[in-house]
């Protein structure tokens, strides 16, 4: 599957380069190339994941390389949705390079030394893949919230200061980024809630305990609380600008700690 993944990487790199150039030069033709390359990459990526699943006989979301690849896949899917719904092209200039990096890492990590995930594979029922898939999609949604929030903050600041940088005119309008952040946060929180719930059900059926006092669990709950706060805050008025955007940024920092940091602190959750 390595060669297919290399082709995926090539498509994403082409897409990323064109997205960045399109952002800098405002060229429509470049944007089209970027979107086509992304589409082709995504189709091949989907095929690679399915092939992985069929060949290895387990859901392709256990090992670290699989997680990275899968995360890249969810990011592309999320960006494609935002693109379809809001035409917010500048998001691609950040998302696609990140996606390329994730796929690249997935390739170089390769099938090296089987990690601690072995145990999970053996004990995994169907609930476990649901749990992890939902959470990865939630993280991707929160990444979109993060980017939209950054774009909001940049533009709001420039509008207040009345001095506009070169990229100001290339970003989507305040209303657009505000809507993207609001709806992505709602989607992300829903996925996170269901993801955590399935994790709990799976854990209780496996060893009868719902809570393990594991760092990842603690941070996940903190993340959940913060995004709940964000949603409540946003819905208490028809428009929440800067403060909501800052919560969107802070929330993503917490997501990163949950996803990568918790691993360093050890514990029950073994991958990520």
């Amino acid at each position: 599957m390595r060669s297919l993944l290399l082709a995926v990487l090539a498509a994403y790199v082409v897409s990323a380069i064109h997205a960045v150039l399109a952002f800098l030069n405002k060229r429509r033709a470049l944007q089209r190339v970027s979107e086509w390359a992304m589409g082709i990459g995504f189709v091949m990526h989907t095929a690679a994941l399915i092939a992985d699943w069929a060949i290895d006989g387990h859901y392709p979301l256990f090992y670290r390389r699989e997680t990275l690849s899968f995360l890249a896949w969810t990011l592309v899917a999320s960006y494609a949705l935002v693109l379809y719904r809001y035409r917010a092209r500048p998001l691609g200039a950040v998302t696609l390079p990140l996606v390329s990096l994730l796929v690249f890492l997935a390739i170089i990590i390769g099938a090296a030394a089987p990690d601690q995930a072995e145990a999970s594979i053996r004990s995994a029922t169907w609930l476990f893949p649901v749990h992890t898939t939902l959470l990865l999609f939630a993280y991707a949604a929160f990444f979109v919230v993060f980017l939209a929030s950054i774009m909001y903050l940049l533009q709001e600041r420039e509008l207040k200061l009345k001095t506009f940088s070169a990229i100001f005119h290339r970003l989507p309008s305040l209303t657009t980024v505000n809507e993207i952040a609001t709806s992505s946060a709602a989607i992300g929180l829903t996925l996170l809630t269901v993801g955590i719930a399935t994790g709990m059900v799976w854990a209780s059926s496996r060893d009868g305990r719902v809570w393990h006092n594991d760092p990842k669990e603690i941070f996940a709950v903190l993340t959940w609380l913060l995004y709940l706060l964000l949603i409540l805050y946003r819905s208490s008025s028809s428009w929440r600008g800067r403060k909501a955007a800052w919560i969107g940024v802070a929330g993503f920092a917490l997501v990163l700690i949950t996803f990568f940091g918790a691993r360093l602190m050890g514990g029950y959750h073994v991958f990520g």
Binding site: K162, T175, S237, R240, R242
Partner: protein
């Protein structure tokens, strides 16, 4: 083939001179018909706008000087001033310089406000007049179409037309930046000055759904409201209507703040925090500057707008430098086109000459062939012609190469060998 351009623009002449030379559409048509005689001036086109009059002509290399004379004479006759008054303001360009000039004009690099889009339409109009008058031919057709292509390239590949450079358009641009689309949004004009009116027109064109007008003298407001399809509101009822407005433009002569911080805060909480965009183009200011500090409120006063505009103009000028590079590379391309244009008749003449030789030989020897069916006759002729074409093909392609390389000696040699006149 030579291109000659003689003209006058906002840089070379003051308006008093330019207005004496301006052509109406009818005058353009009539003028073109007298100017283009087919002998000296082969093709012609006149661009006449409030900022410029350009006479663009195509002629042959040999008659370049006569063309200059003729166009100058033509302009002097048109001019309502004396000949000596206009002469010092005219600029004259030939070939590359003329091509460069028309490319720059069409791309709006030569405009008073660099990047303004109207000039392209004006050149288009001038071209259709020349087409109707029958004075745009082989060369000018290509030149003008090429100029349109350059203008399009410049517009899409540089930011020359991006970012507003007028206060009235600034309201639209910033409004879109905040609200994305202006459709479904409401604009409130406080005071019905000229600038406010212009901004309101732009906003309506850009899709604003509802316009409210508040003016101290109801007459003026009612009149403007009728024109814009808006509603008038009582000046005293301002606080009541403020929450309904997304874009508020203030331009009254009032001495003091009409919109205070408290009013804006109240309005915003009634709007459930939806953002509001205030524009204050009055001096002294009508909106308390503290309004701009409220979250989700964006306030621009006249100085803010002016400073954004001047930075946008600087940005356009930077982009114009990139545009000049595009123009230069397109000039080279167009020269290539011109060269092919020029070689066309030569090659055609040569081919005809050789084919005529074949035909006349066939005629001379026809009796010797005896009776032939029509098919056989056609076959013999086709045989001769294709032999001639096959033999002349490498010759012709070699000739084309000489033209591409602008090898004047070789070109002259070809002409001498086959006894071709131009």
């Amino acid at each position: 083939m030579s291109i000659v351009l003689i003209g006058i623009n906002h840089k070379s002449a003051p308006v008093e001179v330019r207005e004496q030379l301006a052509f109406s559409d009818e005058a353009c048509t009539a003028g073109l018909r007298t100017l283009v005689d087919g002998e000296i001036v082969k093709e012609g086109l006149i661009v006449s706008t409030c900022n410029r009059v350009e006479v663009l002509t195509a002629t042959t290399q040999e008659r370049l000087n006569e063309t200059f004379e003729r166009v100058n004479q033509f302009l002097e006759q048109t001019d309502k001033l004396t000949a000596s008054a206009i002469q010092p303001h005219l600029y004259q360009h030939t070939d590359d310089a003329a091509i460069r000039h028309i490319f720059r004009v069409t791309s709006s690099l030569d405009s008073m406000v660099v990047g303004e889009p109207q000039v392209l339409g004006q050149v288009r109009r001038a071209y259709s007049i020349a087409l109707e008058a029958g004075t745009a031919g082989r060369v000018l057709n290509r030149l003008v179409h090429h100029a349109f292509r350059v203008a399009k390239r410049v517009r899409t590949e540089t930011g020359i037309g991006a970012n507003a450079v007028s206060i009235s358009y600034m309201a639209v641009e910033l409004g879109k930046k905040i609200f994305n689309s202006l459709a479904g949004h409401t604009a409130l004009l406080v005071g019905a000055g000229e600038m406010a009116e212009l901004s309101a027109r732009h906003l309506v064109n850009a899709g604003v759904s509802r316009v409210l007008l508040a003016n101290r003298t109801a007459d003026r407001a009612a009149q403007l409201a009728a024109e814009l399809g808006g509603e008038t509101v009582k000046f005293e009822a301002l606080p009541q209507y403020l929450p309904e407005a997304d874009i508020i433009i203030c331009s009254t002569a009032a001495d003091g703040y009409l919109i205070t911080e408290q009013m804006a805060r109240d309005s915003l909480s009634k709007r459930r925090n939806r953002p509001a965009f205030f524009i204050d183009i009055s001096v002294p200011r009508n909106i308390d500057p503290a309004v701009g500090k409220i979250p989700n409120v964006f306030l621009f006063d006249i100085d803010d707008l002016e400073s954004v505009i001047s930075s946008n103009i600087r940005e356009r000028e930077r982009e114009a430098e990139r545009a000049e590079l595009i123009v230069e590379s397109e000039i080279m391309q167009f020269q290539q086109t011109l060269r092919v244009l020029d070689i066309g008749p030569t090659i055609g003449a040569l081919r005809n000459k050789l084919q005529n030789v074949a035909r006349s030989e066939l005629l001379r020897q026809r009796n010797r062939l005896g009776p032939l069916t029509a098919e056989q006759e056609a076959a013999v002729e086709a045989l001769l012609l294709s032999t001639v074409n096959k033999i002349s093909h490498p010759l012709l392609s070699h000739m084309r190469r000489s033209y591409d390389a602008s090898d004047a000696e070789a070109i002259q040699a070809w002409r001498d060998i086959f006894g071709l006149e131009e």
